[in-house]
Amino acid sequence: MSALTDRLDEIKAEGRAALIGYLPVGYPSVEGSIEAMEVMVEAGVDIVEIGLPYSDPVLDGPVIQFAAEQALANGTRIADVFPAATAVAATGAPALVMSYFNPMLQYGVDRFAQDLRSAGGVGVITPDLTPDSGAEWIAAADAHGLDKIFLVAPSSTTERLHLTVNATTGFVYAASLMGVTGERATVGDAAESLVRNTRAAGAPRVCVGLGVTTGAHAAQVARYADGVIVGSALVRCLTENESLDAGLAALRVKVQELAAGVRAVRVRGETL
C-alpha cells in the first residue's frame, strides 16, 4: 500500500473515479508549469502526473510533443521535476512523474528514485519501459518506496497482462487505444474490455488514459475504471493561450468539466 493507493481507495469510497491530470514540467516555464499544476489541483484534479520532457517522445502526439520541445528549448532540466513534485505534494495531491527511460538512466536510476522520493513524489509512469526490460528501475523504485506504474495496451496478450500486473504497484495504466497521446472525438471501445481483462489478470486498480478529452469522456470511463487520465486536453489549454493567465483560466474550466465528469456516474463497486 502507498500514498497513491490510499488516495485511490478513498476516492473509490466516495463512489467515483479519480481524475489524474498530466502537465509537462517546464512549459511555458518551470514556475509557470508548477503554478498550472497547483491550479489543476484547486480545480479538481486528484492526482498529478508531472511529465519530464524528452527529446524523442515516441508515445506522444503533437500537443505534448510541442510543449516538451518548448520546455527543452527553454532549458528545462531533469532536476526541475523535483521542486514540481514538492509543490504538488504540498497541495495534498499525490505527485507522479511520467518519464521516458533515457533521462532516468542518465541521471542514474537509483539516484532518480531517491531524489524523487525525497522531493515528495510517490511513483513513476514509464511509457517506454516494460517490466521485462525494467529490472534496474524496479529495484530502485522498490528500494525507495516509489510506485512503479506500467502500461497495458489493447494489443497486450493475456500473458503480458499478467506480467505487467504482477510488476505494477499503485495502478495499472490502461491505454484506451492503439496510438499516441492526443485528443480524440471518442474514447476507444477497446478501453472497457482492456480494463476488464486487466482486472481479471489481478490488478486491483486500473486507470485509463489516451484520448480522454471531454467531461462526457471522463464520465464514460469513470463507469468502469478507477481513474481517468487526461493529458493533451489540459496541455492544450496552455499552448493555445498566449498569456499564462489566460491559459490557467482555460485550464481551470477544463479541469472543472472533467471533475464533474468523474462524479457524474457512481461506480458500481467491485462487480466489474
Binding site: V58, A153, R160
Partner: protein, 402 residues
C-alpha cells in the same frame, strides 16, 4: 577455442541491445521475433531470398580491385565490394527483401519505413511494389530537401512519402514518427526498419539479411589470394558494416574498421560519431552509444551524408567496440568528400557520400600500412542521389542552383 562472435542472436549484445519500447508494440515485436525464428529455420524462406538476390537485385555483387585509387592509399591493394551495383543502388535492398517477405508471412498488408538519405525508403518502396504491399515512408523534411530525387523515386514506385517537420527534421525524427504510426496501425502494418539498430529482433534480423555481403566477399577475397588485412565500412546505424563484418568476426587477423561520420570534426561537437563522441544510453528501443546531453536528451547529429546523420548506432557495433574486436574511426566531411572525388576521378566510380567515409578510412589505413597491405572496402551505395550535393560542394553548379 574462443566462442564465435558471428551471428549473435540478441536480444542483448553484451550490455547493449534489448527492447525499450511502449507496451503497445511488444506484441508486434514478439510476433515478428517468432515469425523470424520460424522463417530462419525454414529452407524455403532463405531459398526465396537467395532467388530474389540472384534474379532481382543482382547478387552476388562483384569485387573490384581499384589500382589507380590505391596509389592514393599508400600503394596498398584496395578491393571494393560493389553493393553500389545492386538493384536500387545500395545494400539496403538485401534487408528489405527479407523483411518484406516476412511481412507477407505474418499476413500484414502495409509497410512503413524511415529513411535518411532515401536509400532505405527507395528500397522499401521497391520491395513493396514487387510484393504488393502498401508503403508509407517517413523522411525528415530537411532530408526531403537534400535528397529530392529519392523522394520522386519513392513516389514513382507507388509509395507515400511523409515529410517529418518535428525536431531536427532528419532521420531521428522520421524514426519517431514511424514508431507513432506503428503504435496506431500495428494490426495491419509491419515496420521495415532500415538499419541494424532499434529493438530486438531488428539488430540481429537486419544483420542476418545483410551478412550475405561478408559471406560473398570473404569467399571472393580467398579466391583472389587470401583474406584482407582489414575490412572497412561506413557506420551510421551500421547495417552495411555489420553485414560485411559478420563473416570476418572470427578471423582474428582481419582488422574491422567502422568509419563514423565526424562532420566538422568530433571535437567541434558538430558530428554524427555515436561511438567516438557519445556515451551509452537508450534511443529508439535499444541500449547503445548515443549522442546526448548530460540529461539524456538526444543531441543533433551533423554530417554531409544524410544516411549517416543519426545520433545512435546499432547495439552490436557498441558491443564490438567495447570488446575491441572492431575499431571505430571518425571521418570528417572534408576527408569523405576528398575520397569521393578521388574515386570518381581515378576509377570512374561515383560512390555514395556515405560509402566515401569508408574510402577515406582506407586512404588513411593504406598510408599507415603501406603496399603490403590488402584492404577490403564495402562500397555500400552509389552516388547518383548525391550528384547535386556533391556538385554544390565542389562548386560545379550554375549560379542559379547554388
Amino acid at each position: 577455442m574462443t566462442e564465435s562472435l558471428q551471428s549473435a542472436p540478441g536480444p542483448f549484445f553484451g550490455d547493449f541491445g534489448g527492447q525499450f519500447v511502449p507496451e503497445a508494440l511488444m506484441a508486434a515485436l514478439d510476433q515478428l521475433t517468432d515469425a523470424y525464428d520460424k522463417a530462419r529455420l525454414d529452407p524455403s524462406f532463405y531459398a526465396e531470398i537467395d532467388r530474389l538476390g540472384r534474379e532481382y537485385s543482382g547478387r552476388p555483387s562483384i569485387v573490384t580491385e581499384v589500382l589507380r585509387f590505391a596509389k592514393h592509399a599508400g600503394g596498398a591493394r584496395v578491393f571494393l565490394k560493389r553493393e553500389d551495383l545492386n538493384h536500387t543502388g545500395s545494400h539496403k535492398i538485401n534487408n528489405v527483401l527479407g523483411q518484406a517477405l516476412l511481412t507477407k508471412r505474418i499476413g500484414k498488408t502495409r509497410v512503413i519505413a524511415e529513411t535518411g538519405a532515401g536509400q532505405h525508403g527507395v528500397a522499401t518502396a521497391t520491395a513493396a511494389a514487387l510484393m504488393d504491399l502498401e508503403c508509407v515512408v517517413y523522411m525528415g523534411e530537411e532530408d526531403t530537401e537534400r535528397q529530392a530525387l529519392n523522394v520522386a523515386r519513392m513516389k514513382l514506385l507507388g509509395a507515400t512519402v511523409v515529410p517529418v517537420k518535428t525536431g531536427s527534421r532528419t532521420l531521428r525524427d522520421a524514426i519517431n514518427e514511424a514508431y507513432r504510426d506503428w503504435v496506431a496501425n500495428v494490426d495491419t502494418t509491419n515496420y521495415v526498419f532500415g538499419t541494424a539498430a532499434g529493438p530486438h529482433p531488428f539488430p540481429a534480423m537486419v544483420r542476418d539479411f545483410q551478412r550475405v555481403i561478408g559471406l560473398e566477399a570473404r569467399e571472393q577475397m580467398l579466391a583472389m589470394g587470401g583474406l584482407p588485412d582489414a575490412v572497412l565500412a561506413c557506420v551510421g546505424g551500421g547495417s552495411n558494416a555489420i553485414g560485411i563484418f559478420d563473416a570476418f568476426l572470427d578471423d582474428s587477423q582481419v582488422r574491422l574498421i567502422g568509419c563514423e561520420a565526424a562532420g566538422d570534426g568530433v571535437e567541434t561537437g558538430r558530428h554524427a560519431s555515436a561511438i567516438g563522441g557519445g556515451r551509452p544510453g537508450v534511443l529508439h528501443g535499444s541500449k547503445s552509444y548515443v549522442l546526448q546531453d548530460a540529461d539524456g536528451q538526444t543531441t543533433e547529429s551533423h554530417s554531409i551524408s544524410a544516411g549517416l546523420d543519426y545520433p545512435g548506432v546499432g547495439p552490436q557495433h557498441a558491443w564490438l567496440a567495447d570488446l575491441g574486436r572492431a575499431e571505430y574511426w571518425a571521418v570528417t566531411d572534408v576527408e569523405a568528400m576528398e575520397a569521393f572525388r578521388l574515386l570518381c576521378r581515378t576509377e570512374g566510380i561515383l560512390p555514395a557520400i556515405e560509402s566515401a567515409h569508408a574510402l577515406a578510412g582506407a586512404i588513411k589505413l593504406g598510408k599507415e600500412l603501406g603496399e603490403d597491405a590488402t584492404l577490403l572496402v564495402n562500397l555500400s551505395g552509389r552516388g547518383d542521389k548525391d550528384v547535386e550535393s556533391a556538385a554544390r560542394y565542389f562548386d560545379m553548379l550554375p549560379e542559379s542552383h547554388s
